[in-house]
Symmetry: C2
Subunit: 163 residues, 2 copies
């Protein structure tokens, strides 16, 4: 059983933990830098990218579902969302079942922008995956999933399988 958790009490030594923490910081810093540059052109920020990403991945999400994913207040999302709607990247439609709910999806322009923003990220991840190999990718998945709040791990796992 190569994938069984280590029982060694000294296994994650403090230095290993600090390295893992730092790697996450550096990877995230560089990972977000490419789309950040593109967003500047549009006078958008990282929050716009996050909204575009999750609306693109989950068409017809409601605002409150998006709030739960992004973990921000509705006031914060509202600003970003209305800018995206005003500029024609996101469309709202009323839910026919529950007409209070506004279902969100990307417009054609929104889909285009999503592809443009994610292209450098996909390229970066693809390169890292290829260089590290499939086995390393499985470990990357396992550890990152373990870093997510336990309460949300299932929801995230399900969201990853759905699309």
């Amino acid at each position: 059983m190569p994938e069984s958790p280590s029982k060694d009490a000294s296994f994650p030594r403090e230095e290993e933990l600090r390295e893992g923490i730092e790697l996450l910081f550096f990877a995230y810093r560089d990972f977000t830098s490419d789309p950040d540059d593109i967003l500047t052109e549009y006078h958008f920020g990282r929050a716009h990218h996050r909204a575009i990403h999750f609306i693109g991945r989950n068409p017809d999400t409601s605002v409150s579902e998006l709030l739960a994913i992004l973990r921000i207040t509705k006031q914060s999302l509202s600003r970003v969302l209305s800018q995206l709607i005003d500029r024609g990247f996101v469309a709202q439609a009323q839910d026919t079942v529950d007409r209070r709910r506004r279902l969100l999806r990307l417009t054609e322009a929104g889909l285009e922008l999503e592809r443009r923003l994610s292209r450098p990220q996909r390229a970066r991840v693809a390169r890292a995956y290829r260089e590290a190999g499939a086995e390393a990718v499985a470990g990357y998945y396992k550890v990152l999933t373990g870093l997510i709040d336990e309460a949300e791990r299932d929801r995230v796992a399900r969201a990853l399988e759905r699309p």
Copy 2:
């Protein structure tokens, strides 16, 4: 050679890439939430944590070295740094060799705060490591390192080995 990169052209399929991107977002979101709560007590933000972390890891770093690591402007760092110095968490000392340089290190209070901020992160990473196992951790390292800008990968790798 289980760690050799896959040669399969279809290996990182688009869906896998998008999952890898999303996992990084969720992991980073939850990873930063614990220290963020503690920082609020001190009326500090995430930038203060980052400065404390890297000064703690690299005692006697100069300001410009810190700027290069954090990738922010000196004006941004200056505000954060002078607050940390005013409140007694960071101390400055002149370099005896090049007296233009201010070498930064944590005070006793700074070391204490660093431990307090990193404790929940270390616990989170330790749990994820234990659950995933040593082999998965190796993959996590490999992929995250591959996500870092090529130009900085060596510098980061060296920084991780130094302390």
